[in-house]
Symmetry: C3
Subunit: 352 residues, 3 copies
Amino acid sequence: MSTFVNNAWYVAGWDREVTETPRARMFLNQPVVLFRTPDGKPVALEDRCCHRHYPLSKGKCVGDTIQCGYHGLRFDADGKCVEIPGQDMIPKNARVRSYPTVEKYGWVWIWMGDPALADLSLIPNWWWCEHKDWAFIKPDLLYINCNYELVTDNLLDVTHLAYVHLTSIGTSAITDFPINTSRDGDKVRMTRWVIDRPAPPMYQKFGQFPGNADRCQMVEFVPPAFCVNFAQVADTGTGAPEGQSGTRRIEIMALSAPTPETETSTHYFFGFVRNFGIHDDELHKMVQTNFTNVFKEDVDVLNSQQQRMTQMPNAPEIDIKVDGPPNLARLVVKRMKAAEAQTKAPIESAAE
Amino acid sequence: MSTFVNNAWYVAGWDREVTETPRARMFLNQPVVLFRTPDGKPVALEDRCCHRHYPLSKGKCVGDTIQCGYHGLRFDADGKCVEIPGQDMIPKNARVRSYPTVEKYGWVWIWMGDPALADLSLIPNWWWCEHKDWAFIKPDLLYINCNYELVTDNLLDVTHLAYVHLTSIGTSAITDFPINTSRDGDKVRMTRWVIDRPAPPMYQKFGQFPGNADRCQMVEFVPPAFCVNFAQVADTGTGAPEGQSGTRRIEIMALSAPTPETETSTHYFFGFVRNFGIHDDELHKMVQTNFTNVFKEDVDVLNSQQQRMTQMPNAPEIDIKVDGPPNLARLVVKRMKAAEAQTKAPIESAAE
Amino acid sequence: MSTFVNNAWYVAGWDREVTETPRARMFLNQPVVLFRTPDGKPVALEDRCCHRHYPLSKGKCVGDTIQCGYHGLRFDADGKCVEIPGQDMIPKNARVRSYPTVEKYGWVWIWMGDPALADLSLIPNWWWCEHKDWAFIKPDLLYINCNYELVTDNLLDVTHLAYVHLTSIGTSAITDFPINTSRDGDKVRMTRWVIDRPAPPMYQKFGQFPGNADRCQMVEFVPPAFCVNFAQVADTGTGAPEGQSGTRRIEIMALSAPTPETETSTHYFFGFVRNFGIHDDELHKMVQTNFTNVFKEDVDVLNSQQQRMTQMPNAPEIDIKVDGPPNLARLVVKRMKAAEAQTKAPIESAAE
């Protein structure tokens, strides 16, 4: 059974990162070169010339093709070799693997599994990114030396806010309130309301609440690796938990798309959408800086956690109550991997 | 058979290193967190939260406990989990391994094996550290990329002084004089008298001998890893070798306690005691600096030696005369390991 | 079957690199110490004291011998231990391996296999290095993180000039002309004439051709790892391809002697000989700088190529027309290895 879910979309890069200058990036242990053709189409190919293994990413874009920097072989967007300098005949097996790509929400998405199964509806529905009432913040990705499922664990667990993010978005009051876990098909949702407590420092800075606040934390997981972390903070006593609308509140969501690089490293793509001060550039920068810093606090934790796990691979572990949502998500992913393992070698057959 | 003697005391840190700020250090391949409770007791726990493997050393001390920096679990000095945020019930297996510790001679000692066997009398008797007629110099530890037994080899071999330490404590005259090896139970002792020769540069600096000197080198090894390197330098012809007292002489001892980190790395703790100029601060600093530099010369040698041994693990080796004491010490350690291997899994049973 | 041809000469260092200060270098996975005795003889010994594995290269030359820096054992040029401090008897097996060496063309050559088979006639005949009509340029070696056979591939392939060296010695016109491959015993020769084309930038700089040029590229491979890359550039239409002499032309040869360090790293020794401006110091420096920079372009390529091959060891590859010469060279080397494997453990028996 593979460590990864292959038949799924993953974020390969920000649209700004995929240009006519080839970029090397590894996904699911496979080296990939990303580039963009003159007509704007993003392309993802195996980053290895089929001739002598030189990385195509070290070459350059020539028209619609990428040219190997060693002997000049050129490959089109389908991975087919279209030119071999010094000879007319191009062997049938002169090709590299091509990966389906699509642009959505400012990201280039890649399908690492069987191309025949690439289904656009499997990209999570993050409509806020494209909606006029929401501002979309697009920070640079972070690199984490951990397995991608540790990122999911982290995102589906709001308890660590009180410890890892105490000075930013956490408060020690969090753990006094119960969490609610639910499942909708393969989606896992975790909800917690923190009632009548001071807003955490960063939300207070944005919301300027005169007194205590009611705060909703909701995380929705879409397999294999996507999470929306929703935070709503409202003046306490104004009915927010009961669904009252029209009260003063701020809403912000972190959208997470961690892409496995290897079993123990992850390209962490993420963005933020908010529905307050959406035309306020200064606020925009402040939110971007502050929340990216929050994520960097997690990166430090995840690096250390993976390091210890790698050192002691068979150490036992115990579960606690707040592990409900992450454990449910892991179960969903495990089942996806098992189902994928039952189909016959989906990747290899795709490569032929 | 383990690479290490588990049922033994090792130095875990200087007392000044073990504070209410947790410190991570690995001993015998096991990650350990060291901290001190408010009442001054040094604590050593497994440096891995039993929940999700985050290093406890990344957390903080809270009262008598250490709190995990990820989800806030707290552990007492026995390694028992005493708080899990968000739930009242604490599972019976919510615990991490706790290691016996004791403070002696300015060091915190740790017992890595079966706690039931931890016997304080096994700590070497280095009474000079606590005696008013001796001054105790406590340099920071050195880190060596070598197996700890190579340190013992080095300490029990005084021939290398003529090559590694020629400009400090060695003289090329050393190898003209025979060594005497003796054994007292598990202790190994090596003695050599160098008669009527110039004192080596560093001793000459301290002793200001008008002419040649008689010099005694004695090393006593206490398994699994402790050595006292005793040096006595006296005016020649004053009967020092025959045991005459009252002659002008200087005596200094290096106390070595190398603690294995892994099979190929060692925390090298050491100190010096001397019986001359014991209230002379300037001398104190000079001796500390000079002798620590001597030890750094050994560190360079040991790093290179281990590097070659790792590269060529099965290379043959020959023994020479001066290997008598180190080989005897290795034999003692080998027997200790074999005896330990015969007891049933002492560490695992201790952890339950 | 070994990864290397053992019974062959390899370049161990420039003569200027082998002095009375010992130098450590690894060849064919074996650590070697190089030094020179007072009478000028270059010596190559196993870089590991037979006593306790300390690298002899960390010691020093004493007379005709090298002395271990740890316990002072001394070894002569044959690897025989001639002194053990503190004892008179020297055990018969107190010796380290000694490798045959010889100086030729400004290089110290080493024979890593069975000393009994060391045959000076196997050193390639590079007479230009010693001839008064040629100037010999001797740049410092380059270090490449690749298998040495990738260097041979590179040298026997002149197609990459159009891509890797486009701005120096390549032109995109190259691949319009066919290559001719021939074999003479174990030698492989590749020839290509590029007719009536502009000289590449660097040759134009040296030759100042008024119009187009005829250019001959010839590479001769001598196993296991030596290449002469010959370049001749002449005014076009003056009969150079037909063998006319007396026409204005420049001739330059790169002499390559890549020595395997490990399976994936190589000490790349090389030099240049030219028959124009042989007393022009400024030209000398310019050629050295320019052509060394060309070789550095290859180093970048080879590092990346090996990195990908190591990452994906079983990836398929296709051959193209220009692979003829390199593939032939690989075949020759493969046969040499196979032949060597049939002799009984040539290295081990040599060490006894």
